[in-house]
C-alpha cells in the first residue's frame, strides 16, 4: 500500500509540470501584462513602467519567465502578488482557510442529510414520500448552483426587508464589528454568514449523493444474503441497518475522495456569486488582472488537490473493500 501511494505521488510530478507549463502558456495568451493597465495612468511615466517591467521580468521571453517561475516554485517561493504587494503564500493561505471552512461545512451538511435520506427512500420505495422527494431532488439537479445562489440571496434580501433588520447576512464572511465581539458571538456571526454559501453548494450534492445512496441500498437489498438474513427470521431493522446499509455504504466512501478533489475547483463559482471571500474569488481577480504569480499558485494548488483527491478515493476504496488490492 505504501509503495503504491509513493508511486502515485511520483507519477504526479510530471503531470504537475505539464499542467504548470500549459497554464503558464495560457496566462500569456492574454494581450499585454499586469502593467498594461497602468499605462493609461497619467501620473506614471512610461520609463517607470518599463523599469518595473524589467524588474518583474515581464520583458523576458515566455520560456525564460516560466523557468524562473518554476525554479522559485520548486524551492517553495511562490513569489509576490503584483496587485496586493504581498507574499502569494500568505494571501493564498488566508483565502484557502475560508474555502476550506466553507467546504468542510458543506461536506458535513451534505453527508448528514443525504445518507439518512437515501436510506429512508430506499427502504420506503414506492411510497408517496419517496415519489415526492425523488421529483424534488430531480428538479434540484437541474437548478444550476449559481442560480440557486442568486435565488437564496434574493430570499434573504426579501426577508431582511420584511423584518426590517438583518436576518441572514448577504455576502462576505464576517460582520463589520466581528473583531470586537466575544468568541461565542464570533462563531455565531460566522455561522450566519455560512448559511447561504453552504446551502447553495450543498443542495446539488445532496440530490446526487441521496440518489447514489438510494441506488446502492436498493442493489444490496436485492442480494441473496439479504434474503438469507430475512429468511432466518432476523428483524427487518437488523437486516437493513446491520447487513444492507453497511455494504451499501462501501461505494460511497470513494466519493469522499472525489469530494475532496472538487473542494477548491467546485466552490469557486459559488464564491464569486454569493461573495464568499475564498480562493475562487481571489483567483478570478488574479486571472483578470494578470497577477501572474498569484494565478499560477492558485492553479497549481487546485491541480494538486484534484490529484490528491483522486488518490485518496482509490486508497479509501482499497481500505473499505478488502477484495481490492492496489498494485504497486
Amino acid at each position: 500500500m505504501l509503495r503504491y501511494i509513493l508511486k502515485r505521488l511520483l507519477q504526479m510530478v510530471p503531470k504537475l509540470i505539464l499542467i504548470s507549463m500549459i497554464t503558464f502558456g495560457i496566462s500569456k495568451l492574454a494581450p499585454g501584462d499586469y502593467l498594461t493597465q497602468l499605462e493609461n495612468n497619467p501620473t506614471i511615466s512610461q520609463r517607470q513602467i518599463d523599469a518595473e517591467r524589467h524588474r518583474l521580468g515581464l520583458d523576458q521571453p515566455v520560456a525564460v519567465q516560466y523557468v524562473r517561475w518554476a525554479e522559485n516554485f520548486a524551492t517553495g517561493n511562490l513569489g509576490m502578488s503584483f496587485d496586493y504587494h504581498e507574499r502569494v503564500s500568505a494571501l493564498i493561505w488566508l483565502r484557502l482557510k475560508a474555502t476550506l471552512l466553507l467546504g468542510g461545512c458543506a461536506m458535513l451538511f451534505t453527508w448528514l442529510i443525504s445518507l439518512p435520506l437515501g436510506i429512508y427512500m430506499a427502504v420506503k420505495q414506492y411510497s408517496w414520500f419517496e415519489k415526492i422527494a425523488s421529483s424534488i431532488t430531480f428538479l434540484f439537479l437541474g437548478v444550476p448552483d449559481f442560480f440557486l445562489g442568486i435565488l437564496l440571496l434574493l430570499a434573504a434580501a426579501m426577508a431582511n426587508q420584511a423584518f426590517h433588520h438583518e436576518v441572514v447576512p448577504i455576502g462576505g464572511m464576517t460582520s463589520v464589528n466581528f473583531a470586537t465581539e466575544g468568541l461565542l458571538a464570533k462563531a455565531g456571526d460566522l455561522a450566519l454568514h455560512l448559511v447561504i454559501p453552504v446551502v447553495t453548494v450543498s443542495i446539488g450534492s445532496v440530490a446526487i449523493l441521496q440518489r447514489r445512496m438510494r441506488g446502492n441500498l436498493l442493489d444490496v437489498l436485492g442480494e441473496d444474503y439479504v434474503r438469507t438474513a430475512r429468511a432466518k427470521g432476523l428483524p427487518e431493522r437488523t437486516v437493513i441497518y446491520r447487513h444492507a446499509v453497511r455494504n451499501a455504504l462501501n461505494p460511497m466512501i470513494t466519493l469522499l475522495g472525489f469530494d475532496f478533489a472538487a473542494l477548491l475547483s467546485g466552490y469557486a463559482v459559488i464564491e464569486n456569486i454569493v461573495g464568499w471571500p475564498g480562493l475562487g474569488q481571489l483567483m478570478l481577480d488574479a486571472l483578470l488582472r494578470q497577477d501572474l504569480n498569484l494565478a499560477m499558485a492558485g492553479l497549481m494548488i487546485g491541480a494538486l488537490m484534484l490529484l490528491m483527491g483522486n488518490l485518496l478515493a482509490d486508497v479509501l476504496l482499497a481500505f473499505s473493500d478488502p477484495r481490492i488490492r492496489l498494485e504497486a
Partner: protein, 389 residues
C-alpha cells in the same frame, strides 16, 4: 446518475459492456413509457424551434434599445379598459412616476417589492397584433423580413412582455437570441468532443501497449486539470481579444470541448479494451480487415448507445459552463445575448429586489437543464436492456 456532472465532463466509466442496441422501435416503445421524458422531448422541441425562428418570434431585434425604458416593468396585458369595456388584448404605456408618494405605494409582481416608480398611463390603449410589421431583420442572415409574431404597431410605447433590461432592451426578445448561444453551445461542443474522444479512446483501447500508455497519460493529465480554474484561465486570457460574436461563440465551444473530450475518451478506451478480445473482432481481423476498419466498423458502433445517452446527459454541463462564464463576464460579451450574461444584473441583490424579472434567463436555464436531464434519463432507460426484464 450521469446527470450529476455539472462541468463538461462525460460520465464516469461504466464497468460493464454497453447494452446491445435493440431495434429502434423497441427503444422508442420503452422511451414512450417514460412520460416525463416524452414531455421533456416536446419541451426541447418547442425551445429549439423557437430558437431557430428567433428573429420572427422575438418582438424586437437583439440590440433594439430605448434607453428611456431601462428596467421598464413587464407589460400587463389587459382585456378591459378603465370604463369597463371589453377589447382584444391590449397594453398601456408604462410611464416613470415623478412623485415620490406613488413610488412607495406601487407594488410589483412580488408583493412588497416596489417596481421603481413606474405606472401605467391609462389614457391610451395599444392593441396587440399577431404577424405585425416591425423592425426589419434577416432570418438566418439570409431572408429579409419585418414580420414579427406578436407586437404593437403604434410607436408610442414598446411591448416588453418580460420587462426591460438595464439598458432598456426587451428581455423577452433577448431571451430568444440568448437561446441561440445557450441551446447550441452544447451541441456544437459535442460535435467536436465525440469524434475526438471516440477516435482517440478507440485507438488507445484497441492498440494497447505504448500507444495506450501515452494516450492514457494525456487523458489522465487533461482530467487532472482543475476544470473551473482552467476555464477561468482560458477565458480570462481570451476575453480581451477583440472577436466578432460568432468567433467568440466558436472560441467558447472549442475551449469547452478541449476539456470535455478526455472524459469520453477514457470511457471509450475502457469499452474498446474489453470489446477487442471478442471473437467477431478476431474474425474480422483474420478476414483481412485493417485496424481502422475494425475500430470504426465494429467497435465504435458497439459504444453508440452509451454515446447517445452521454450526449443528452452532458449537454446541461455545457449549458452550465457557458452560462456561468458569461455570468462572470468572461464568455459572451454584451450587447450579444446569452442567458448567462443576461443574468448578470441579478448578481446585484438590491437591484434584483426592484427588478425581479431579471431572473427570467435563469428560469430558462433551469427549464432547459431539467428537460435535457429527463430526456437523457428516458433515453438511458430505453436503451438499457436490463429494464426489459
Amino acid at each position: 446518475m450521469a446527470t450529476e456532472t455539472k462541468l463538461p465532463a462525460m460520465e464516469r466509466p461504466a464497468e460493464e459492456l454497453p447494452p446491445p442496441i435493440s431495434s429502434g422501435r423497441k427503444v422508442w416503445r420503452r422511451f414512450r413509457r417514460h412520460k416525463m421524458a416524452v414531455f421533456a422531448m416536446w419541451v426541447l422541441g418547442v425551445l429549439y424551434s423557437l430558437m431557430i425562428f428567433a428573429d420572427f418570434f422575438a418582438p424586437y431585434t437583439m440590440t433594439s434599445v430605448d434607453r428611456t425604458r431601462a428596467y421598464q416593468p413587464p407589460a400587463a396585458i389587459h382585456l378591459r379598459d378603465t370604463k369597463g369595456h371589453w377589447h382584444l388584448p391590449f397594453i398601456y404605456n408604462w410611464k416613470e412616476t415623478e412623485d415620490l408618494q406613488s413610488l412607495f405605494t406601487s407594488t410589483g409582481p412580488i408583493s412588497g417589492v416596489a417596481i421603481g416608480g413606474w405606472h401605467e398611463d391609462k389614457s391610451k390603449r395599444y392593441p396587440l397584433h399577431l404577424f405585425v410589421q416591425g423592425e426589419p431583420y434577416k432570418l438566418w442572415g439570409l431572408i429579409p423580413s419585418d414580420i414579427h409574431f406578436i407586437g404593437i404597431t403604434d410607436p408610442g410605447t414598446r411591448f416588453y412582455l418580460l420587462g426591460g433590461d438595464a439598458s432598456g432592451r426587451d428581455l423577452f426578445s433577448r431571451l430568444f437570441f440568448g437561446a441561440r448561444v445557450s441551446l447550441t453551445v452544447g451541441l456544437v461542443a459535442l460535435a467536436i468532443v465525440i469524434p475526438v474522444g471516440t477516435i482517440l479512446g478507440g485507438i488507445a483501447g484497441y492498440f494497447g501497449g505504448a500507444v495506450d500508455t501515452v494516450l492514457s497519460w494525456i487523458i489522465e493529465t487533461v482530467l487532472a486539470f482543475p476544470t473551473f480554474y482552467l476555464l477561468l484561465a482560458l477565458f480570462g486570457a481570451t476575453y480581451k481579444w477583440s472577436l466578432s460574436s460568432t468567433q467568440r461563440f466558436f472560441l467558447i465551444t472549442i475551449l469547452l470541448s478541449f476539456l470535455g473530450w478526455a472524459g469520453l475518451a477514457r470511457v471509450i478506451r475502457g469499452m474498446v479494451l474489453s470489446l477487442r478480445s471478442q471473437e467477431y473482432v478476431e474474425a474480422s481481423r483474420a478476414a483481412g480487415a485493417s485496424h481502422l476498419w475494425v475500430i470504426i466498423k465494429h467497435l465504435i458502433p458497439q459504444t453508440a448507445s452509451w454515446i447517445v445517452i452521454s450526449i443528452s446527459l452532458s449537454i446541461p454541463g455545457y449549458i452550465y459552463a457557458e452560462s456561468f462564464l458569461s455570468l462572470l463576464g468572461l464568455g459572451v460579451q454584451p450587447p450579444d445575448a446569452s442567458w448567462g450574461n443576461m443574468l448578470q444584473p441579478a448578481l446585484n441583490v438590491s437591484d434584483l429586489l426592484m427588478h425581479p424579472w431579471m431572473l427570467v434567463p435563469g428560469v430558462a436555464i433551469v427549464v432547459t437543464t431539467v428537460a435535457w436531464n429527463f430526456f437523457g434519463d428516458g433515453l438511458r432507460d430505453a436503451f438499457d436492456s436490463k429494464t426489459r426484464l
